[in-house]
Symmetry: C2
Subunit: 457 residues, 2 copies
């Protein structure tokens, strides 16, 4: 039985004489998607068109605001497009999961998604076996062939650079071993630091690497972990995204998850399920529990021919600091870091990237200490504690002084991302190269132009 | 000529047999407002009801979602309500500004609102005379009798505790000298630190103290300073709010300004005109260029009889630090602050209030350093770098360990506000009292229950 799409969609199909299995072109929000129009499945949403793209993967596109046109009919398909015809043939009999289904590596690292309440103390403790997690979400087996591996079980506040290296190495190994994508389950508190680290480390990435977790443990009725995991598995197994992203709830409801670029995400709420936000950016895709994927913006697409090997470039300088300035803050801590051999520092300045300079109490002026540190070879980058927006050294005289002293203005980069990036740059390059690369876009961490809608009103 | 209100309002008035000059009761969002229904003025919005309250001040209430009922007719007004009758009489002939108009003290401290572009360098420099600012906004003279005073001209990044003390002293002096309210023009970058300081310092406050500024200098077409100043003057001269607040654009349009509680505001964007947001809270009022005031939530009302004298309690401990933790952050900086005699520290923890504890690299564990500092008498408070939401020491075992060590969990307080509060507590009390008061609500800095709508979706 072929289920009907919504009245609105069926009308549009009739107007264009489009039948299921025809190749169609859907345009939406300035993006175009081409593929074979799939029949609506029992689990499918009547408002979401599903097409099978040339790479064999299905994507779902909400019809709201979209236009559809016919590229070719099934009957009149030109010769020489065997790949498409083959995809059509396969589409009629979807591959049974587990047999020819895409392989996804699931890397378990700890965090709330694997937590249970300790009924003795009322506190929460971590599970030790990732299998327990998989058993709780049997749907995963219907999405992809999951190869689960426990790397370690560490709470997110205790993660540091050595764990990021281990995750990057395991992700590269899995992808080079044939996995279609990677899901990393990880604690949420520092997930955005980890996603930034993986974004810089995984060079030559040609597949999705999806970090996910839970704000509430799995034995709570309101747990978000199930949907987050399912959506992550769909994104890792069926999207053509070749980036590192964070997949968590898009809103407070269980409607769908958002995939936020790994260098543009930030945890903005202590407890809400939609705590992660795309700052100075928009999510790059959405996924729902039925596997409908909606692409939302520009992203790096996987090369259809497959890329070369993924390389984990995991050098990280240990001696880099993230320093926030504030009224009456003491610039003496720069000396503390210098004495300990620090080679880099990211400042969370105020507004457009200021530090206290002309304070009534002279010992609270930061410019001399910063200048001295730079003169001694430290790389110093500037971000804003506002989080949203962009630093700019060209507006105020005092900013020009900082810029002239050698402070690198980091555009619209989040402070946390700039911190991770500088650690990575100094871990793999000398200070000159690090200073040069810091304000350049390497992994989507800098947005040329911020859309106005990307600051929530 | 009496202008009509909107059709919807006129219908509601007819249904209740209400005429202009009748005393009415308007209920909206659980709040009730009583006063004389004023005729719509030429400049008035047809959708906004204006009533004159008992204190003689007009407020505007958007009729959307409101209900109106009659309290008494002008004709049938009972004897002995002379005050109201007198107010009615006055209402027919509004007081000429400058003669009997409310007095407002305008304290000029510097910042972009007084900036001009230097056409030689293209950079921006600060004006030196507040009169120049007043001359650019002649509307102010029609709102209140403005008594402008320049305290200093310092960019916001250079403001520190001594300037907050000077502003608090000047505000208290103005209010004790008969001002109806105070407007402070100040740089925006650290405005929320200053508003928090004034919120704690101004004890016995019975009038509005409104901080305002500009994101763009006055010679730019998109300058927000004019509307911000006008709305601030209305709020300072005509509202019954007895709190410190920040008045800046509510959205990116020039429609209205929001007044955000001084202890709940944060600058969340480097350049947008609506950069200030109420975090874990909602704005307490809105104002527009016509003087329509809309109250939006709970706030401390001025006592109609007038309070006693306002006292500026300006003690501030200099040796307090705001410290953010992050992956691979060095707990050794606690030692740096201890050696310099610091008596307090606010931590920006991750998530619900964590610090790195059980890191693979033992020297990166924060718990021992924190415990030692507390044992030596330092007051340590915990907030979250998520900004939105609330820290909670009762969820995870590791949080209980921090709490047991004596770390004070600061509920839903912003890190910047907790920092200012701890400086103030330690500047006026001993450490025991400071530790006790830190997690208690003193000036609206702690919200008992956060509304779900207060995190932007």
């Amino acid at each position: 039985m072929v289920l009907m799409y919504s009245n609105e969609i069926e009308k549009a199909l009739e107007a264009e004489s489009i039948k299921v299995w025809d190749t169609v072109r859907i345009t939406k929000s300035g993006e175009a998607y081409e593929g074979i129009l799939m029949p609506r499945t029992e689990a499918g949403d009547a408002d979401i068109l599903v097409i099978k793209q040339k790479d064999g993967y299905n994507i779902g596109i909400s019809f709201k605001g979209a236009a559809i046109s016919k590229v070719s009919s099934l009957e009149t398909m030109p010769q020489g497009r065997g790949a498409t015809a083959s995809a059509q043939a396969k589409a009629k009999a979807p591959a049974a999961p587990g047999h020819g289904a895409p392989k996804v590596a699931l890397l378990y690292t700890g965090g709330t998604i694997g937590n249970k309440v300790d009924y003795k103390t009322g506190g929460v403790y971590a599970l030790t076996k990732p299998e327990e997690l998989l058993n709780e979400v049997p749907e995963l087996g219907g999405i992809a062939e999951i190869d689960a591996k426990k790397l370690f079980s560490i709470a997110s506040e205790d993660l540091s650079e050595s764990e990021w290296v281990a995750i990057a190495d395991a992700a590269a190994k899995a992808l080079n071993g044939g996995a279609k994508g990677v899901v990393v389950t990880i604690g949420t508190d520092t997930m955005h630091y980890a996603s930034a680290a993986l974004s810089f480390m995984l060079q030559g990435l040609n597949a999705p690497v999806v970090l996910t977790g839970a704000q509430r443990s799995s034995d709570r009725g309101s747990s978000d972990g199930f949907l987050n995991l399912i959506c992550s598995a769909y994104l890792a197994s069926r999207s053509d995204i070749a980036e590192v992203g964070i997949c968590m709830h898009d809103t407070s409801s269980d409607q769908r998850c958002a995939l936020i670029r790994g260098t543009k995400a930030r945890k903005m709420h202590t407890s809400r399920r939609d705590a992660f936000r795309a700052v100075n950016s928009a999510p790059i895709a959405f996924a729902d529990a039925r596997g409908n994927l909606t692409y939302n913006g520009q992203y790096k697409r996987a090369s259809p021919g497959g890329g070369g090997a993924v390389k984990a470039v995991t050098g990280l300088a240990s001696k880099v600091a993230l320093v926030k300035v504030y009224p009456s803050s003491d610039p003496g801590i720069i000396g503390y870091y210098r004495e300990r051999g620090y080679t880099g520092m990211i400042i969370e300045g105020t507004g457009l990237g200021h530090v206290p300079n002309f304070t009534s109490e002279k010992s609270l002026s930061w410019l001399p200490a910063i200048t001295e540190a730079i003169d001694c070879g430290m790389v110093v980058g500037m971000t804003s504690q506002c989080l949203y927006g962009r630093v700019n050294p060209n507006v105020y005289r005092t900013l020009r002084m900082l810029s002239a002293a050698g402070v690198v203005y980091c555009e619209d980069m989040l402070p946390e991302v700039a911190y991770v990036k500088l650690k990575w740059l100094l871990g793999n390059h000398g200070p000159e190269e690090a200073r040069k690369q810091l304000p350049r876009n390497l992994a989507g961490e800098i947005t040329e132009r911020i859309e106005y809608s990307e600051f929530p009103e």
